[in-house]
């Protein structure tokens, strides 16, 4: 990787490479249970949201499922501060849902980058995830979906300032969502 301090805003091979490497590093932190280090990838004005997916007829469903919905329950609707609570819980030694820790693999693909319309200099990045969780003796859960991120250039890397997660499940099929996306 080059030593440039400023990120080229031209979306090309190098930027694509750097964003993808950033996501691979993020996935590694999660899969190695380094949650505190993972939290440092987020900006302090973070909004991290995983809305509920609806089963509605086409004529009555919202076109943009990532759009803010006002006052509606969600699976995650977090700030940096509340994500810090979640991370502290995970590392507490008494968060039985993940203690003993699950074995997870976060697979990130289909990375598409555009300039961010809402924040000058930032990037809007969509990526597909597939998460495998194997727990205790024989429990397996899988989650597929898409992440809509706002990445803010920071030094030679990025900070995640917004993340909206579309999980491809209506009724969540697992006993919990004690994983990070």
């Amino acid at each position: 990787m080059t030593e440039t301090a400023e990120l080229p805003l031209t979306i090309g091979y190098e930027l694509q490479y750097r964003v993808e490497q950033f996501y691979y590093s993020e996935a590694e932190l999660l899969d190695e249970w380094k949650y505190q280090t993972w939290l440092e990838l987020f900006a302090h004005d973070l909004h991290y949201r995983l809305p509920v997916r609806h089963n509605r007829l086409r004529r009555q469903r919202s076109v943009d499922e990532t759009a803010p919905r006002g006052i509606e329950m969600a699976h995650f609707d977090d700030t940096y501060e509340t994500m810090a609570h979640r991370v502290a819980q995970r590392e507490s030694g008494t968060n039985w849902a993940e203690d003993p820790p699950s074995r997870t693999r976060h697979m990130i693909t289909n990375v598409r980058i555009e300039p961010c319309a809402e924040e000058r200099g930032a990037l809007s990045v969509r990526s597909i995830f597939f998460i495998y969780r194997n727990r205790l003796e024989c429990e397996v859960d899988t989650w597929a979906g898409e992440r809509f991120d706002r990445l803010r250039p920071a030094g030679n890397s990025f900070l995640i300032a917004r993340r909206v997660i579309l999980l491809d499940q209506n009724v969540v099929l697992s006993k919990n969502l004690s994983v990070f996306f």
């Binding site: 329950m73 509340t82 507490s92 008494t94 849902a97 009724v171 969540v172 919990n176």
Partner: protein, 435 residues
């Protein structure tokens, strides 16, 4: 296993606090439960605020059966099976919305939102105009009624009126459903997730299991309020002869928040003064987990309402909602939504640890033989309860931890499972035989 009432009574020795886990895993018992419990009890469907306008509908379940709940043009509510009378296909596959009609996607039989069959394709050509549409409407529930905006229904026309079914539970339901004159609203967005365990495990926990909180939830409730880890907080438990239960935490602090700097604090202080005027001092202080028999539960004071939908002996879904004061400012509703999102639900900091327990208990029963034969202990507080509490109706155990509600829940479950007629019981003051 054949369902023999005497065998069931042996499995559920609630009087001595000994219960066999066969009732959580046996397939024949589960099938009988769908008939004798879910086929007869009043089941919670929805709150008025979830379907406010004519044509608004939502899909839910009554036991194993899909049911459409729809607001009528006259303001009433109807509920009927979401199953076409022709071949049993679902006539509506959206979870909620607004509709003028439900058209089956198999052959096109169409029903209005009252559940009436209004047209079938090729009526003249193929049915020769002879099909009596009026006889082939969607199968309606036998009775539907509401209490304080909470809509319930039963498939049994012999079931007693809803108000009798709820019995003395209304004293406790009012503490969250009719807390202030403005009433409540259920926020949009149901959190739905899946547990590979038996629905009764969750229902009994919400009926009165405060005992698990400091251990199961050490990393969340314990972190928010370390005092709960040290000793049993003051409080009591209620169960009614109808099987409804509630934990009553003695906590005069209206905050009852998971965080010290709760932005809702001022609002809750103000609303609590209203609640004390509306409900009376003692009643306004009642907060805690509750179950309305069989499968409606919630956390009063923490804005949660839910249904445990059975999906087989060893599987259930949790459908969980958040309740706010209807007349609260939007910023207060938003704060409650954020707070509840953080703690409750599939990803909720508190609830992630319940899933771990319930799934593993189910796994042991699913695979084991000896574990199914091992009776479980429900003896906490046995013999220390009273039916003549000075303040509170129902059977009261004067400690927050105990298994009085659980024993009462299974006693009622046994009534339903062993009775051929609808099991009517004296609502209020039945004296316990051995006392």
């Amino acid at each position: 296993m054949a369902i023999n009432p005497d065998e069931l009574r042996e499995l559920v020795d609630w009087e001595h606090g000994i219960i066999s886990p066969e009732i959580f895993i046996d397939d024949a018992i589960y099938r009988e439960e769908l008939n004798k419990v879910f086929g007869r009890a009043w089941l919670f469907l929805a709150h008025d605020s979830m379907i406010p306008n004519p044509g608004d509908f939502l899909n839910t379940y009554m036991g194993g059966d899909p049911v459409i709940v729809a607001r009528q043009s006259d303001g009433g509510v109807r509920a009927y099976l979401n199953a076409c009378r022709h071949r049993g296909m679902k006539v509506c596959r959206a979870e909620d919305g607004n509709a003028k009609a439900f058209v089956c996607t198999y052959h096109g039989w169409a029903y209005n939102t009252a559940g009436e069959l209004i047209s079938v394709p090729s009526y003249e050509d193929a049915y020769h105009g002879e099909l009596d549409l009026s006889q082939w409407g969607l199968v309606r529930v036998a009775q539907i009624d509401s209490y304080k905006g909470l809509i319930f229904a039963t498939f049994d026309k012999t079931a007693p009126p809803l108000i009798d079914y709820l019995g003395d539970a209304v004293y406790y339901i009012d503490t969250w459903a009719d807390r202030t004159p403005g009433g409540i609203q259920v926020l949009p967005g149901a959190i739905k997730w899946t547990i590979e365990g038996n629905w009764k495990i969750a229902a009994e926990q919400f009926a009165g299991d405060g005992y698990h909180a400091p251990v199961t939830h050490a990393s969340s409730l314990g972190a928010f309020n370390p005092a709960v880890l040290k000793q049993m907080p003051p409080g009591r438990q209620y169960v009614s002869r109808q099987g409804h239960g509630q934990s009553i935490a003695d906590n005069a602090d209206p905050n009852l928040s998971r965080f010290a700097d709760d932005p809702l604090y001022d609002y809750k202080q103000e609303k609590d003064a209203q609640a004390r005027a509306h409900l009376g001092e003692d009643r306004a202080l009642i907060r805690g987990n509750f179950t309305v028999f069989p499968n409606m539960s919630g956390l009063s004071g923490l804005a949660n309402l839910r249904i445990w939908h059975p999906k087989g002996p060893n599987k259930f879904e949790i459908w969980s909602w958040t309740v706010v004061d209807a007349d609260a400012p939007d910023e207060v509703k938003k704060e409650q939504q954020l707070s509840s999102t953080l703690t409750e639900g599939a990803a909720g900091m508190v609830e992630v640890d319940d899933g771990e327990n319930w799934n593993l208990m189910g796994q042991l029963l699913e695979r084991g033989y000896q574990t199914r034969k091992m009776a479980w202990n429900y003896q906490m507080g046995l013999g220390h309860e009273t039916d003549q509490d000075e303040k509170y109706p129902g059977r009261i155990n004067a400690t927050l931890y105990g298994e009085t509600p659980q024993r009462g829940f299974y006693r009622r479950w046994l009534d339903f499972m062993t009775s051929d007629k609808w099991p009517v019981v004296d609502a209020m003051h039945e004296t316990r035989e051995e006392s």
